[in-house]
């Protein structure tokens, strides 16, 4: 396709953003040319086989579990009527606020051998709770915290088109079940694929959860190579291999999503819900209730119990500082990342083609890289920029002794967050852009609305839902983020997540409960807000 010059200019923002996000990856890939010698042969022989198998196994099992849980819960709450449907509809989103590394230690606290529950079951009822292997335990915890990604997006799809599509299918003589599998589910594919892609990348980059269970994956192996074998080079080289896995996952998503364009038939606000029969009603309620209990109610209760016990010794004014640092960082990055994602999506829309498509792909790669690698990558780049600026200052104003330091500021941190979470913001925005039909643009142009006006007056209002989703996801993700925050935070920027890390690494789970609850609470407000907003737009309470 040939583009007009004015249109071609829209490629520039996309390319610039992609180039920025590519920097840390370039540093990692650059490491491939530095030989890591015998360290590498050791890793290849004793570490890689297990790590590759574990990582692939974990990613696939978490992807399947979240797809099942997320799509089922979304379908039930979006299109069926059963007791508790109303509150479960939003309650099932709440685990979004729960970091994997928190649910991991909270659930272990409930179910481990010496805990009150298992002791009671063993002594009173002679029942032994099953002991899960590290891999299964990691799968359970990651799935329980990540399924809301699938749920959130699938629910959007089902709410706007689920019932309608089913009605059409039934009018064509299909049974309800057939209609679900042949029409409603395939129509929701882009949303399901986007959700599962987010889940896969979160899983590939997870460090905190697998660390609690001592399950070896790429991220822990990267840390071991760096911390244990003292080889940052080998660590970076392994991240490049991880990157290959990410590319595979992304390609699969792209294939799965297909070439079709999806547009919604508008809000299904007034579509009636399906009334379920007796047994199905109970099963639907039971399923959603159990999911909510395991993913949220039980771990939060355990945290509240611990927090109450440790309150006297632990609470202090410093929590205000942690809270403020978490909040400011999350807000700043949510704004920044969403802005860049909108520019990325808009570029792709205005100048469709190979360049913008690949820019979008490159810009979203960072999501699956361990935060540490991104942080170190940007660190190297920003420190270099600081040295260059210092040299320039020395040349411009010789003898003044001006030194320019960029590394102690939030610059590295915000850049690394941006690279890490661009995909999170781009996912819902991309889907939202897809849902504005090209005809809208044509109509607007016909009315003389073009260029930036088109974005401001036509697209932005239509994108509001997507923008809110994107900003919310980034906000909550940054709040939970650990490795980047740990490495790059300047003085006085200890966050809640940092506090949890400090307590859990020393096995002091009780004392980690207060900051963990604070993170969950801070994450809840936007989750509830988002739910209300999306429901307001759809016209029901």
């Amino acid at each position: 396709m040939t583009l007009r010059a004015g249109t071609r200019a829209w490629q520039i923002p996309a390319v610039l953003i992609a180039a920025l996000m590519l920097l840390p990856i370039a540093v990692a890939v650059g490491s491939v040319f530095t030989p890591a010698g015998e360290v590498w042969s050791h890793i290849a022989e004793f570490v890689l086989p297990r790590v590759v198998a574990n990582t692939v196994w974990l990613t696939v099992s978490v992807a399947l579990t979240t797809l099942l849980l997320g799509a089922a819960a979304a379908w039930l709450t979006a299109t069926c009527e059963f007791p508790g449907r109303r509150w479960l509809g939003w309650a099932l989103l709440l685990p979004l606020a729960m970091p994997g590394y928190v649910i991991a230690f909270a659930l272990t606290g409930i179910f481990e051998y010496g805990a009150p529950l298992s002791s009671y079951l063993r002594e009173s009822l002679a029942v032994e709770l099953p002991r899960f292997s590290a891999g299964v335990a990691s799968t359970i915890c990651l799935s329980l915290t990540l399924y809301p990604y699938v749920y959130l997006l699938a629910r959007q799809a089902f709410l706007t088109q689920g019932i309608r599509s089913l009605e059409v299918a039934q009018s064509l003589g299909m049974t309800r079940r057939r209609g679900f599998f042949r029409v409603a589910l395939p129509m929701a594919r882009p949303w399901l694929a986007a959700g599962v892609a987010l889940v896969c990348m979160e899983t590939l980059a997870d460090f905190g959860t697998v660390k609690v269970f001592n399950f070896d994956t790429f991220t822990t192996a990267i840390y071991s190579a760096w911390f244990g074998l003292f080889s940052l080079t080998a660590a970076l080289q392994m991240s490049v291999m991880l990157l290959v896995l990410v590319l595979v996952a992304l390609t699969l998503e792209y294939r799965f999503r297909g070439k079709a364009r999806y547009t919604s038939a508008g809000s299904a606000a007034n579509a009636p819900r399906m009334q379920l029969s007796g047994g199905a009603r109970i099963a639907a309620s039971g399923f959603c209730l159990l999911l909510f209990a395991l993913a949220f109610a039980a771990p939060v209760s355990q945290l509240v119990f611990w927090a109450w016990n440790s309150l006297a010794g632990e609470w202090g004014a410093r929590y205000l500082e942690y809270f403020r640092a978490s909040l400011l960082l999350s807000l700043a990055s949510a704004g920044l990342v969403t802005l860049m994602a909108v520019m990325l999506g808009y570029s792709e829309r205005r100048a469709p083609g190979v360049i913008t498509r690949w820019s979008a792909r490159v810009a979203t790669l960072g999501y699956a890289l361990p935060g540490t690698v991104l942080a170190v990558g940007f660190f190297v780049v920003v420190a270099g920029a600081g040295h260059a600026l210092t040299a320039m200052a020395g040349w411009l104003a010789p003898g003044r002794g001006v030194t320019i330091t960029l590394t102690g500021t939030l610059l590295v941190m915000l850049l690394a967050y941006s690279a890490r979470f661009m995909a999170v913001a781009y996912g819902p925005l991309g889907s939202a852009f897809e849902r504005i039909t090209p005809r809208v643009d044509d109509a607007a142009r016909g009315l003389g609305v073009t260029g930036a006006q088109l974005l401001r007056r036509v697209h932005l209002p239509m994108l509001r839902g997507g923008i809110a989703t994107a900003a919310l996801l980034v906000f909550v993700d940054v709040m939970k983020e650990l490795p980047i925050t740990l490495i790059t935070r300047p003085f006085g920027w200890d966050t809640l997540a940092v506090r949890i890390f400090q307590m859990t690494t020393e096995g002091e789970w009780q004392r980690a409960a207060i900051p963990a609850l604070a993170i969950v609470a801070a994450g809840l407000a936007p989750v509830i807000w988002l739910h209300r907003r999306s429901h307001g737009a759809n016209g029901h309470a």
């Binding site: 360290v39 050791h42 004793f46 570490v47 481990e112 051998y113 010496g114 292997s133 590290a134 660390k211 609690v212 269970f213 001592n214 070896d216 840390y223 071991s224 760096w226 911390f227 244990g228 074998l229 003292f230 940052l232 403020r324 640092a325 700043a332 540490t372 942080a375 170190v376 660190f379 190297v380 420190a383 600081g386 040295h387 600026l389 210092t390 001006v402 030194t403 320019i404 330091t405 960029l406 590394t407 102690g408 500021t409 939030l410 610059l411 740990l486 490495i487 935070r489 300047p490 003085f491 006085g492 920027w493 200890d494 940092v498 506090r499 400090q502 307590m503 690494t505 020393e506 096995g507």
Partner: protein, 343 residues
Amino acid sequence: MNNASRAALLLPLLALAACGADAPESGERGAETPVAPVVVYSSRAEQLIEPIFTEFTKSTGIPVEYVTDDPQPLIARLQAEGDVTPASVLLTVDAGNLWFAAEQGVLQPVESELLTQTVPAYWRDTQNQWFGLSLRARTIIFDNRKLSAEDLIGYQDLADEKWQGRLCLRTSKKVYNQSLVAMMIAAVGEEQTEAVVSGWVSNLAEEPFSNDTRLIEAVADGRCEVGIVNTYYLGRLQREQSLPVSIFWQPAEFGGVHVNVSGAGIVKHAANAEGAARLLEWLATDGQTLFASKNLEYPVLRSTANDPIVEAWGDFDASEQSLVDAGRYQADAVRLMDRVGYR
């Protein structure tokens, strides 16, 4: 939030650069003559160091600022920052980390008679680039309902068949175990160490634990009979409840008890080397009680009093093997543990 952190937020947002090498302390300080603070990069957890720095500031008037993180990122950060680093002191646990910092050239030798007299040669760097400031004994614990101290000999004996299905260990990814194995490699050679560690793995009662606290609880629950842990983890649990778990010290004739240190060094491009030296000397003398007892560790200054819980464990002979070995052989230890399948 102080001015420095507010500046840290604003600067990148406005795309401005912080000017000056000592950006973190650029706030206003009223009419008093400013005393240059010592900036510490610490891998010791905040709740363990904050009260100690407060005490130091109280007694010397020198303010302390700090960042806490894992040791490797801190060292990488020091390298990336080079001569514009705001840090003056690197404080971290484990001799392996201190050795690595010295190896990477981010520390400088310290000439202090006080330090060299207080800290024995085997608990500091050969060029005095770092000094151990508190001892962390990694020793054997046992279920005292099933075993007594007479049943135990030492670390290597735990590889014996008689311990089949009775031993519990923490993950090999923890640096404490890497140092234990590294010191063993230095003492008895790689071949024998590999046989020992391989024996440990085949004696395991459960998969390796992710932290020492879980391990101690497993012994208390009766799921395993012996394990290897740092003593202060037991102390923390004993502060809250009494457990059927006792400590065994490997006698001097078999090499004594494996100890590691938490310690510190002065950063090569320290902005405030003088203040940094004051801090190190204070930690090795006046600050000893607080520094060690805060975490139920053992002071390097042997005359210093211990916490009652620590006293109750009795005296032991610490190994006098140079802790430089823990760093030198750490990578070998990690590889060895990978080879024998110790997760």
